[in-house]
Symmetry: C2
Subunit: 435 residues, 2 copies
Amino acid sequence: MVNSMTEAVGVGMLGLGVVGSGVARALRDKAATIGQRVGRPVELRGVLVRDPERQRDVEGVSLTRDPRAVLDDPRVQIVVEVMGGEEPAHAYIRRAISAGKHIVTANKEVMAKHGPEIVSDAARCGLDVAYEASVGGGIPVIGPFKLDLLANDISSLSAIINGTTNYIITRMSQAGLDFGSALREAQDAGYAEADPRNDIEGIDAAYKLSILATLAFHARVHPNDVYREGIGGLEPSDFRYARELGYATPLLAIGKREPEGLELRVHPAFVPRGSMLANVDGVFTAVQVEGDLIGRILFYGRGAGAGPTSSAVVADVIDLAQRIGAGPVRPSLAPTDANIRLRAVSDVRTRYYLRLVSADRPGVIATVAGILGERSISLSSVLQKEDVPLEEGGRYAEIVFMTHHAQEAAVQEALEQIRRLEVVPRIGSLIRVED
Amino acid sequence: MVNSMTEAVGVGMLGLGVVGSGVARALRDKAATIGQRVGRPVELRGVLVRDPERQRDVEGVSLTRDPRAVLDDPRVQIVVEVMGGEEPAHAYIRRAISAGKHIVTANKEVMAKHGPEIVSDAARCGLDVAYEASVGGGIPVIGPFKLDLLANDISSLSAIINGTTNYIITRMSQAGLDFGSALREAQDAGYAEADPRNDIEGIDAAYKLSILATLAFHARVHPNDVYREGIGGLEPSDFRYARELGYATPLLAIGKREPEGLELRVHPAFVPRGSMLANVDGVFTAVQVEGDLIGRILFYGRGAGAGPTSSAVVADVIDLAQRIGAGPVRPSLAPTDANIRLRAVSDVRTRYYLRLVSADRPGVIATVAGILGERSISLSSVLQKEDVPLEEGGRYAEIVFMTHHAQEAAVQEALEQIRRLEVVPRIGSLIRVED
């Protein structure tokens, strides 16, 4: 505990990669602003790195490869964790709390999997855990749930929360690239990693949705609670049909409170062209929230990168440093509702876009419409494009069905039956429509 | 000062109109959530109204027409001001501070004209003034400047910040209505007041821009510092040309930090169709901010109304009530830079849309292009529509000029000269293009 109001607040940091270097630079370059706001200086006193000998563009910072040198330093009151990954980051955060340090972290995986437990443990020690940087880079999304939106009952979240997949989707949609080419472009531009599974399979988005849903619905949401589909199955023709029908096709993270339970899902979705979410392009991200008092609001900005992420980390450091100076820190609340009821994805009701690759025979539309109709799935429109060349050879017709609201289970049953039709060699895509 | 952590926090309110009633309902209906968050109950202990006898849909609240009964009540720690208008709201806020009360206000006029002085005076007494509800309804826009964006040097603000004018503009643009019809529709829908000048002349937007710019640029910005044009001069044809050229035409509030000084202006502007700002329709509002670390971010939502505004007021009450319980409140900072340098609007450089109503004679385009060229204003495109019927009778040609970047002073000089041309009976519109 720091007693004097003139003594500096000490910060230790775990990790000095892209984000860590950004934070170190911001703490140095903005020292005057930060000191003025906090009421006393904030000093970076030690950084855990893998190789302290390596040349870096951050000078005058004490580097160590010994975690204890940061975690047990009595001159450190706030530990900033920007290593990423579940372990050893999680273990280090726990040890820092045991050693009486407040935590600032940008780690979505740790916060999604262990956040509520970490926050509770810290609170028992009178410590706080700040994690604005874990979702949406520098866009203030965690803070609003902790304060600005508190008077609201939140009914839904819809977020384009992974910049890498949004970049790939934007390139597929605007330049007509196929998935593989768009992915390679994202890798070349440094937006996608060599192993891109975390992004393209929606795992990263599910982490972030878990964190947001835990805050929004005051319930303990785990990443495993989230139904998940990636973007690898999208084809250029889906984007063409989407445009024709008046939609964009982002990877959407959805959280909805329904009477039957919480809906939590990450998958590509059609959203109307004129909506704010349809205009989130490239590496930009957006979080849309609906509450009873506030109606619909949306936060938009770059969701990753050294600048935006260090903007959020430094803001959290300032907030904690201020509160350390002003008596005991009142920690954040843990979720009140330990047992949530999840709504199975099979119970979800929405509209659907279904693209079939079919032999161009009379009667196919009638057969498929019949199968759908037997399960009370009615159609709002049907598009047929003839003579489409197929990768697997031959030329076929593509038929697109847009349904009215239907139950997922019924749609999946119908799909099983359609899959067995001889005249339908391939089901192109099934994409949910979120209005 | 409240000493016990179990004693309730007392709130007094000035005004019980649409917003005040919303706040009273929210404090009652959300009492459990609020109490849990604050750590003790928050009670509405008295409300100043004009007529305590009038029937209202808020029960169990003590009403008075005597301001002292609220301002001097020792059981009140927080005064919520939701009367609106400069006086007596301003005087009551001052008296409440003298009486040792923290302030929560939704009053943009008072905060724009007197905010920094009120905040400083309150700070000297260890009191805080919260005003999230004064700009952007429930959208968190004040809070982010106080904390989340603190590590950033803000270079610009662009905001669609008045829902009434945005509704009128949306109706003109999407339904082709003229200004008078769209205004009447907004009045019938309850979005515009009987005397709509505050909205349509951009006065309300200038108040809000002053508040945001004061925070963003750490400078004392007064509403009189803001250059202002309203929306009364826009005609249906401007929206048609805008669409053809790929733009939307909101009333934009702009704050920019340039080497020569601060640019502060409110006027209709062309913004590119694909941008987030171009998709803010109806009574929705949005604030876009650019900072050195965070890049471009945007906040979007309903900027007014009982629900959104009471969402912000209640969040401010919760924040203050929490801090009252945790030792002395550390008040907000006043702007550090008392003397700002303003950039005159005549020095602004931007692109321009100029619509002329002209006799359809050969040579008009050449003459106008010559006048512009003499002042180094070059053209990016020219559109000519022939045979346009005029309100004032006769049929003329309409000619639209889009310029490259040019200085406002040069454009205004050219306009003076064009106005004197016999072949140009009327200058339709001059609209700045913000890319």
